[in-house]
C-alpha cells in the first residue's frame, strides 16, 4: 500500500514538473516589471490604488496582444511586492525584485519615506525606477553629492514646486498674511513641504506665526493646536496624510480654531472625506490631477477604473497608471528589452500625454515638467479650483 502510494506520488511529481518545464519553454516572450507598493501598514489605501492601477495598465497591454518592442510582441509580467510602509522592507523588496525576479524596471514605492531608500538600491544596481507619488526632492537627487540620480524618475511634481504653489495660493487667492504650520517630522515629504512653504511665504512678505511638529502615529495634537491658536494665524498649513488630517482638523475645531486649513497631495484620497466629514468641508489642497476637469485620456481612465473597481481613482492611481504609460512608451522607444536602453529612452521623453497632464523629461533630471491643480472639498467631493503652471 505504502509502496503504491509512493510510486503514485513520484509519477505525479514527474508529470507536473515536466508539464511546468514544457510550459516555460513554450510561453510567449515576457517583460518582467516590478511593483513596490505600500499594501499593508500605515498607507493601505495608497498601496491598493497603486496596485489597482498597475494591474489595469498591464491588463490593457496584455489584452491588446502585448507590447511591441523591436518588432516582437511581449506580454508584461508584473511582480507585486509589499513594502509594508517600512523603509527597511522597501529596500529588501527592491533588492528582491532586481536580483531574484530580474525585472527590467520598477514602479514604486509611492511615499517618500520608502522611495528615498529604495531609490539608492535602484541607482546602485543601475535599474530604472519610477516613483508615482514621491514628491521629496531627495528621491531623484543624491543628497551627498547634490547630483541627480541617473536611474530614478518620478511621475509627479516635486515638493519645492508644490510648496511654492501652496504659498502663492495662500497669499494671493486666500488673502492669508499670517500662517501657522503643523507637520510630521518623521516624514521626508512633509518636512520638505513645510520648509519650502515657509521660505516662499516669507519671501512673498507673509508671516509664519508658529511652526509645530509631531511624530508619525501621534494622535493627540491638543498641545500643538493650543499653541497655534495663541499665535493667532489666518490660515493653517497642514501637510499631512489623508488619514491624519481629519483627526487633526477635528481636534483644532474642538479647541475653537476657526481659520481655514490648506493641505498638500497627501490629502488626496476619498478617505479624507469619509473620515473627516463636515470638518474638512471647504478646505483646499494642492493635488496632481482633478477628476472633474479631466482630458479625454483621463476620462477614459476614470471610466475604466470605475468599471473595474467601483471607485473614482485617486491621484496615486492616476500617477501609477501614468508611470506604467511612461515605462511602456520608453520600452517602445528603446526597441529592446534592456535595463540601460529603457532608462535612456525614458530620460529624454519629449512629450507624454498622461492622465495627470502633459509630462516632459530632460536628460539630467528625473523630475517631469508638469502642472499642479488646487482642489477644494465641497459637499463631500473634491472640486477643481485652479491650475498652477510650472
Amino acid at each position: 500500500m505504502k509502496k503504491t502510494l509512493a510510486i503514485l506520488l513520484v509519477t505525479m511529481l514527474t508529470i507536473t514538473s515536466v508539464a511546468l518545464v514544457g510550459c516555460k519553454s513554450s510561453a510567449a516572450l515576457t517583460i518582467p516589471i516590478g511593483l513596490n507598493a505600500e499594501l499593508t501598514g500605515g498607507l493601505p489605501v495608497v498601496g491598493a490604488s497603486c496596485k489597482n492601477a498597475a494591474l489595469m495598465a498591464v491588463k490593457e497591454v496584455n489584452d491588446a496582444g502585448g507590447l511591441t518592442v523591436g518588432g516582437k510582441q511581449y506580454q508584461i509580467k508584473l511582480f507585486v511586492e509589499d513594502n509594508g510602509y517600512k523603509a527597511d522592507q522597501s529596500v529588501a523588496v527592491q533588492q528582491k525584485l532586481i536580483t531574484q525576479d530580474n525585472v527590467v524596471a520598477i514602479v514604486g514605492p509611492n511615499a517618500s519615506v520608502m522611495a528615498v531608500p529604495a531609490s539608492e538600491i535602484a541607482e546602485s544596481s543601475k535599474v530604472l525606477m519610477i516613483s508615482p507619488w514621491s514628491t521629496n526632492p531627495n528621491t531623484t537627487i543624491d543628497s551627498k553629492t547634490g547630483q541627480p540620480k541617473k536611474y530614478v524618475f518620478r511621475a509627479c511634481f516635486i515638493d519645492t514646486f508644490q510648496a511654492s504653489v501652496d504659498a502663492k495660493f495662500a497669499m494671493n487667492k486666500l488673502g492669508a498674511k499670517r500662517v501657522a504650520i503643523l507637520y510630521d517630522l518623521g516624514n521626508d515629504a512633509f518636512v520638505g513641504q513645510s520648509t519650502f512653504f515657509k521660505n516662499t511665504f516669507t519671501q512673498l512678505g507673509g508671516t509664519i506665526t508658529d511652526v509645530e511638529t509631531y511624530t508619525t502615529g501621534d494622535k493627540d495634537f491638543s498641545a500643538q493646536f493650543t499653541k497655534i491658536k495663541a499665535s493667532n494665524p489666518d490660515l493653517i498649513f497642514l501637510p499631512s496624510m489623508y488619514n491624519e488630517a481629519p483627526v487633526q482638523i477635528k481636534q483644532a475645531h474642538a479647541l475653537g480654531i476657526k481659520v481655514p486649513f490648506l493641505g498638500t497631495d497627501g490629502w488626496s484620497s476619498q478617505d479624507l472625506i469619509t473620515l473627516g466629514g463636515k470638518d474638512v468641508e471647504g478646505c483646499f489642497f494642492s493635488a496632481h490631477y482633478a477628476p472633474d476637469i479631466a482630458t479625454p485620456i483621463a476620462q477614459k481612465f476614470i471610466a475604466d477604473y470605475k468599471t473595474a473597481y467601483g471607485a473614482v481613482p485617486d491621484d496615486v492611481a492616476a500617477l501609477c497608471y501614468d508611470s506604467f504609460g511612461l515605462l511602456f512608451q520608453a520600452l517602445k522607444t528603446a526597441g529592446k528589452v534592456d535595463r540601460q536602453a529603457v532608462r535612456d529612452a525614458l530620460a529624454t521623453i519629449p512629450n507624454y500625454q498622461g492622465v495627470t497632464g502633459t509630462m516632459q523629461f530632460k536628460e539630467g533630471s528625473g523630475d517631469p515638467i508638469k502642472s499642479a491643480v488646487m482642489l477644494q472639498i465641497k459637499n463631500g467631493k473634491f472640486v477643481y479650483y485652479s491650475t498652477a503652471q510650472p
Binding site: 494622535k219 493650543t226 473620515l275
Partner: protein
C-alpha cells in the same frame, strides 16, 4: 487663557491614560503579570463602539455599557484560556503569551478593517468658552467619567470584601488560597474590572479622536504602562497619579520645546524611574523573601 487651555488638555489626556493604566496596574498587582494585550483590548473596545454606533445606530450610553461588558468578558475569557494554564509556568512565558494575544487581537481586527475607520459622533458637540479657553462637553464627560470610575474603583478595592481579597492575593496568593479565598474568581473579577475600565477609555478615545485603526492600542498602551510604572506598578492611586504626571509632562514639553521631544521625554522619564525608583512614586520597595 493659554495656560488654562493646556491644563484642560492635560486633564483630558491624563484621564484616558489613567483609565488604561489602571488595567495594567490591577493585573500586575494581583498576578505580577504585565498584560501586554491590554492596549489591544482598548483598541477592540474602540472598534466595538464603532460597530455599535455605525451599523446598529446605538446612542452613547448603551454603546458604552455594551462595550464595557463585552470587553470585560473578553478580558476574563483571555485570562481563563491563555493565562490560567500558565499559573505555575515561569513569568516570562505568561508575558510572551500576553504579547501573542495582543498580536492576535490586532491582526484579527485588521482582517475585517484594514483601513482606518471614522467613528460616528455620539456626544453632542457643545463647547463652552471660559475666559478664552475652550472646553467641550466631550472633554468634561471624559474627565468626569474617569474621575468617577477611579473613585469607584478605589472604593471597591479598599472597602469591599472582593477588594480585600484582591489586596490579600497581591500579598501572598498561596496562603490566601489556603485560607479559603476563591483565588481564581477574584482574579477573574480583577480582569473584568481592569479591562472594563480600558474599554471605557477605548470608547471615549474613539469619540475624542474619531479615527480608529487596529494598531492604535500599541503606543497608547505603552504610554499607559509608563504611567503605571511612574506611579508605582501595582498601586491603584499611583497609576492615576502617574497618568496625570505623564500627561502634564507631554503637554508641557510641547509648550516649551519642539514637539518632537515629546517621546524622548516620555521614555526618559520611564528610564529615570526604572533606574532610581523602580517601585514608582507611591509603590513600596519589594522585600526579597528568603
Amino acid at each position: 487663557m493659554y495656560v488654562i487651555q493646556q491644563l484642560i488638555n492635560i486633564l483630558q489626556l491624563g484621564s484616558i491614560y489613567g483609565l488604561i493604566a489602571l488595567g495594567y496596574t490591577m493585573v500586575y498587582g494581583i498576578m505580577r503579570l504585565i498584560n501586554f494585550a491590554h492596549g489591544d483590548l482598548f483598541m477592540v473596545a474602540g472598534f466595538l463602539s464603532f460597530i455599535l454606533a455605525a451599523y446598529f445606530k446605538f446612542p452613547f450610553l448603551p454603546t458604552l455599557l455594551i462595550c464595557m461588558v463585552v470587553v470585560a468578558m473578553m478580558g476574563v475569557l483571555i485570562e481563563r484560556l491563555a493565562y490560567k494554564p500558565l499559573r505555575k509556568a515561569p513569568r516570562v512565558s505568561v508575558v510572551i503569551t500576553a504579547l501573542g494575544i495582543g498580536l492576535f487581537l490586532e491582526n484579527f481586527v485588521l482582517l475585517f478593517y484594514p483601513y482606518p475607520q471614522n467613528v460616528p459622533t455620539l456626544i453632542p458637540r457643545i463647547t463652552w468658552n471660559i475666559g478664552g479657553a475652550t472646553i467641550s462637553y466631550l472633554q468634561v464627560l471624559i474627565i468626569g467619567l474617569a474621575l468617577f470610575l477611579m473613585l469607584t474603583l478605589d472604593l471597591i478595592v479598599n472597602h469591599t470584601m472582593v477588594g480585600m481579597a484582591m489586596r490579600a492575593i497581591s500579598w501572598n496568593r498561596v496562603v490566601v488560597g489556603l485560607m479559603g479565598v476563591p483565588v481564581d474568581r477574584v482574579i477573574s473579577i480583577t480582569f473584568a474590572l481592569g479591562t472594563g475600565l480600558g474599554a471605557v477609555a477605548g470608547v471615549m478615545y474613539s469619540q475624542a479622536f474619531s479615527v480608529i485603526d487596529p494598531y492604535m492600542g500599541i503606543v497608547i498602551g505603552w504610554q499607559a504602562f509608563i504611567c503605571a510604572v511612574i506611579g508605582g506598578i501595582g498601586n491603584i492611586r499611583g497609576a492615576i497619579l502617574g497618568a496625570y504626571i505623564l500627561a502634564a509632562a507631554q503637554i508641557l514639553v510641547v509648550m516649551v520645546m519642539p514637539s518632537t521631544y515629546r517621546d524622548v521625554v516620555t521614555f526618559t522619564l520611564l528610564l529615570v524611574f526604572l533606574a532610581f525608583r523602580p517601585y514608582g512614586i507611591l509603590g513600596k520597595p519589594a522585600v526579597e523573601k528568603v
